[in-house]
Symmetry: C2
Subunit: 221 residues, 2 copies
């Protein structure tokens, strides 16, 4: 798919199409947010967007294409949050990131839950492709571990390539459990951070470890 970025002609027709495309995706989002991922039905979507089914197929495509478009947006937002890493102690920047994510999810909790489930079902988060979403996101915790080792917080007895994915896994599991409705956003925060701090503590130098254990205790209260 070629994405047009320079000097869009923006004829009346094309502007109209773009507007309709946006309408479709917006309605799809609200539909998912209000009634869940399974409730996204093409006819219903067409009704709400004020047009007919084949138009959707023409403008965007089938169901999977609609979901892909929505999830692509989601991934962009996540990447922005992840890129805005606070400088400071490792555990603080992890904590900030989890809180930023939770705050973001809270702005439209039902939608984000459904979107993550849809992403999982679409196999969008697979781990084998080096250019995939997973590879792009797991990179950061690995680097954070490397930095923490250089700063003397971690001993380095566990390779960053081992510790990083485990930390990312703690976040993923908490996110999934939240998305599946097993617990709420507050528990997501606590669960993710407990896991992350636990992973760090496994390789932490004594002082850092003390700090982490204290934080873990705080989280479970």
């Amino acid at each position: 798919m070629v994405v047009e970025t320079v000097a869009p002609p923006e004829s009346k027709r094309e502007k109209n199409m773009a507007k309709r495309r946006d309408t479709i995706l917006r309605e799809a989002r609200t539909l998912i947010a209000t009634q869940g991922f399974e409730a996204l039905k093409i006819r219903e979507l067409a009704d709400r967007a004020g047009l007919t089914v084949p138009t959707i197929y023409n403008l965007i495509g089938g169901k999977s294409d609609i979901l892909a478009a929505i999830i692509a947006e989601l991934v962009d937002q996540l990447q922005i949050i992840q890129a805005a890493t606070a400088s400071g102690p490792v555990e603080a920047s992890f904590a900030q990131q989890i809180h930023d994510l939770a705050d973001h999810f809270a702005t439209d909790e039902a939608f984000y839950r459904a979107a993550f489930i849809a992403g999982d079902r679409s196999g969008l988060f697979e781990q084998s492709s080096p250019q995939g979403i997973y590879a792009r996101f797991v990179h950061q915790p690995i680097e954070a571990c490397r930095r923490a080792a250089q700063e003397g917080l971690l001993r380095g007895a566990i390779a960053p390539e081992v510790l990083g994915p485990q930390i990312y896994g703690c976040y993923r599991l908490a996110r999934q459990d939240w998305a599946n409705g097993y617990f709420d956003l507050n528990q997501f925060r606590a669960q993710a951070l407990t896991g992350i701090f636990l992973c760090l503590a496994a390789d932490a130098t004594p002082a850092f470890r003390q700090r982490l254990l204290a934080q873990i205790s705080d989280l479970s209260r």
Copy 2:
């Protein structure tokens, strides 16, 4: 639903029904194993079982009932494996359990992958119910942590109620990633055990921690 356990009359009719029920479930399993979870279609299943669609509804029920029956069996098997805990050092019994599970999954990998995905989708693994599957299974790692603390392997700075669920989470995430086809059974073993050992190491006394870190190194080679 009342389960009849004592002195089943076993009339000709009832024996026949039981046999057909078994046939249905067996065919459903092979269908899932050979073509995946999405390929379980009622008509196809009826054809393979040599009967018609409404009979399935009469004998077992709809699609969700069929899946529930299959998953109930799966859960029973898992519980048997979990119950057969080797005595010995904590990390060894965790390792044995993960290997037992992996070996069990290997006997019909496609089926177990599909079954776990179906279980997840059915919301069968939810965590709020104290009688639920999750609560039943998370109990064991919690107890294992408590024992390890008594034996002096863990310091006890992290409550078993915190550490246990994290350990169970490592297993769940690895299982999910395997079930979703993100990696194979060998990586499942490595991923689950790395996570578990990492969690233990966070609260381990020095000697035990050394042992765990050595095992983690072995796993990533």
